[in-house]
Subunit: 119 residues, 2 copies
Amino acid sequence: MLPKTKSLGYHYIWDLSGCPSDSISKLSSLKAFANDLVSSLNLTVVGESGNQFSPHGATCVILLAESHLSVHSWPEENYLAIDLFSCMKIESIEVFDKIVQSHFGESLKIETQFLERGL
Amino acid sequence: MLPKTKSLGYHYIWDLSGCPSDSISKLSSLKAFANDLVSSLNLTVVGESGNQFSPHGATCVILLAESHLSVHSWPEENYLAIDLFSCMKIESIEVFDKIVQSHFGESLKIETQFLERGL
């Protein structure tokens, strides 16, 4: 990937393993986490959508004035995929670990990537 | 980033520059493109949300049975950020270029990244 000459989007990518399956099975749990995270980061919600899969697993997307947050769960793998795409760099992003642990337990393994998006 | 021992998600990331601003200003244009792309890739829509920004620019997210597609536009920069996250590898992904060019012109510069997500 070539370096960007103009950054327009800041894309935070997390792969979480070791999530207790009952904590990530329901859409309601993902929504509660997602709303807690965007509120803690002072992001502005402009829409929300989600889907509960059967027998378990869910997808939750929050549309933000700054772009979006998506959360997908694989309870059978104890895995959660989270993406936060923002048009502004988020200075307080280190709160992520604390919020995710308060919702999904402290024995998580958190793998983080960061991409600059733009021209 | 460590290699995955078990791939659960296939994340296609595109940064498009050189998009005519009037082709990416409106939510309706992004929705038409997004629905055309997911239909061409035989993905299953389970929800849709979007937001029109003022004076221009939009966000469109399609929830899929396979995960999600997000599209964000910066008309003032002639830039479009597109993410497709799927629980299945998409064999026909090469149709992307043709579809994006049919909606946003043939003089685009398309930068592509691919991430495997999972454990």
